[in-house]
């Protein structure tokens, strides 16, 4: 074991140019991967928060509906497990809200004699998937004029985030395969350079794993160095992005970026795991041809 590590470190520095080249190519791949990771996590995060804005169902009541009836509706809805809370919105209150939306043009609404807005019940669901059940229930009530909810918009949002997630995963897999090829080619060069040495080692009775050991550790070392490099770069860039656009995002979407510390911590783990396995796979693949007896 100590032999493998000593040899690998020696090889790593002896093949300085090649090692640097591999570290660069793997880092580049890990970087692309890292930025996709940032994208996916943030899109998911934003989508989650946007979903929350769409988790309300508004049940418009006929003007003829008595308050006692609507009160019993609210009690029934409140008993449903999907429901977070239920509120009654009077037509007067609705008009007030509507006016606020118009701001300084609110005087236009004053011209109407009669308030056209209905009384309504506002239901918030605990989970967006619960919307269907609540809507079905509300339909069964008498005295309901209509129901407004954002099922379609939410579905579209979910489809969009799913697409981003699947797309990013496919791209990540593709990049991982590429990086394995890159490492295996780099190590193959060092293996070819040491072909004779490997032959001698086999003649004097070295096991395949003994021969493979240093190359394996070399690959892992390349992967580790790349992981550290890319974690630093991604962390730095992400910190800059947050610095530049963080407040804008909060204003626009009422949610910020996923915190830097959380992201970099997770990315470091992912990069290390990926870097090490890319390096290890690469070196084992590159050795295959030279070790079959």
């Amino acid at each position: 074991m100590s032999y493998s590590i000593k040899q690998a470190v020696k090889q790593f520095f002896r093949n300085g140019a090649m090692s640097t080249a591999s570290v660069f190519s793997i880092s580049a791949i890990l970087l692309i991967l890292g930025f996709f990771f940032l994208l996916v996590v943030n899109v998911t995060n934003i989508a989650e928060s946007v979903k929350k804005d769409f988790d309300t169902i508004q049940i418009y009541l006929l003007d003829s509906t008595e308050y006692a009836l609507s009160d019993s509706m609210m009690k029934k809805l409140n008993l449903m497990p999907e429901v977070l809370d239920v509120n009654y919105l009077t037509k007067e209150q609705a008009m007030e809200d509507f006016k606020k939306l118009f701001g300084d043009k609110a005087y236009l609404l004053e011209m109407r004699q009669e308030n056209p807005l209905p009384n309504s019940i506002v239901v918030r669901v605990t989970n967006i998937e619960g919307v269907d059940a609540v809507v079905a229930r509300a339909r069964s009530f008498d005295g309901v004029e209509g129901i407004k909810y954002y099922k379609e918009a939410v579905n579209r949002l979910i489809r969009f985030t799913n697409f981003i997630q699947v797309g990013a995963l496919a791209l990540i897999l593709f990049l991982v395969v590429i990086s394995v090829v890159v490492v295996s080619n780099t190590i193959k060069l060092t293996v070819v350079a040491r072909d004779r040495e490997i032959g001698i080692m086999k003649y004097i009775g070295a096991t395949n794993w003994f021969i493979r050991g240093p190359f394996l550790v070399e690959g892992i070392l390349i992967g580790l160095v790349s992981a550290v490099v890319s974690a630093f770069v991604v962390g730095f860039v992400y910190a800059k992005i947050i610095e530049l656009f963080g407040t804008d995002l909060i204003v626009m979407l009422s949610t910020g970026f996923v915190p830097l510390r959380f992201m970099v911590g997770n990315l470091a783990v992912i990069f290390t795991a990926l870097g090490v396995s890319i390096g290890a796979c690469g070196s084992i693949i590159s050795m295959r041809r030279f070790l079959d007896t």
Binding site: Y3, E197, I200, M201, Y203, I204, G205, A206
Partner: protein
């Protein structure tokens, strides 16, 4: 200790060995002679399990190595010391490291390595060059290092594939005396050679191979004078300093 029984090995339509049966006892010193392409290399490669025979069995230390799994090949090779014509030392390691490496490979402890490596180096008379790199040594010295590496793990058999092929006559004899010494310690030696002069003077067992068959096996033989043992063209091409 080594027994070939009806061993045949062909490469396509070329014959490597053709129904060869021979046995070599412990402590033997055997010369393997014959023209290039006669089957000497095949003979050695089969023993190292670099290649597999088409038929027949090869027993080494009581084990049928033709039935041995590939995983056990390193173990087999550890009990066989090998010396090549071109030395095959690791160029980036010192003399000491080259010899110590053979022990590192079989996971010997550092204390054993520190004890046995100098012993092997002094046995081949190269202790003073321990810190040098192979390319700083003469051919004869390099071959001594290779022999030290081959015997440091106390193999039961030492295979020498034309060990004097790259050496001048005086140096060649020094190497032969060294091999004789090692043989006297009880190590079996199988030496492939074209050096007629050496074979004749050593007066040891000679196995002569031609076209994949053993044509002669003498307890105390010479190289053989006839064309049958050694083609003319072969003499001119490969004979080196010992051919006539």
């Amino acid at each position: 200790m080594i027994e070939y029984k009806n061993v045949t090995k062909t490469y396509g339509s070329n014959i490597g060995l053709d129904d060869v049966s021979v046995s070599i006892d412990k402590g033997d010193f055997v010369f393997l002679v014959g023209p290039s392409g006669a089957g000497k290399s095949t003979f050695i490669k089969l023993l190292l399990k670099e290649i597999k025979p088409d038929s027949g069995s090869i027993t080494f230390n009581g084990l049928d190595i033709t039935k041995m799994s590939n995983r056990s090949v390193p173990k087999l090779r550890r009990s066989i010391g090998i010396v090549f014509q071109d030395f095959r030392l690791l160029p980036k390691k010192t003399v000491y490291e080259n010899v110590a490496f053979a022990m590192e490979i079989i996971h010997m402890g550092p204390r054993v390595i520190r004890r046995q490596t100098p012993q092997a180096l002094s046995l081949v008379g190269i202790s003073s060059e321990a810190a040098k790199y192979p390319d700083e040594l003469s051919a004869g010295e390099q071959q001594r290092v290779a022999i030290a590496r081959a015997i440091v793990n106390n193999p039961t058999i030492l295979i020498a594939d034309e060990p004097t092929g790259n050496l001048d006559p005086d140096t060649a004899w020094e190497i032969m005396h060294l091999l004789e010494q090692i043989n006297m310690r009880g190590t079996t030696i199988v030496m492939v050679t074209h050096a007629k002069d050496i074979v004749n003077k050593m007066n040891r067992r000679v196995i002569s191979i031609k076209s994949g068959r053993i044509t002669r096996d003498e307890k105390r033989g010479g190289y053989g004078e006839t064309e049958d043992d050694f083609g003319r063209s072969e003499l001119l091409l490969r004979g080196g300093p010992f051919s006539l």
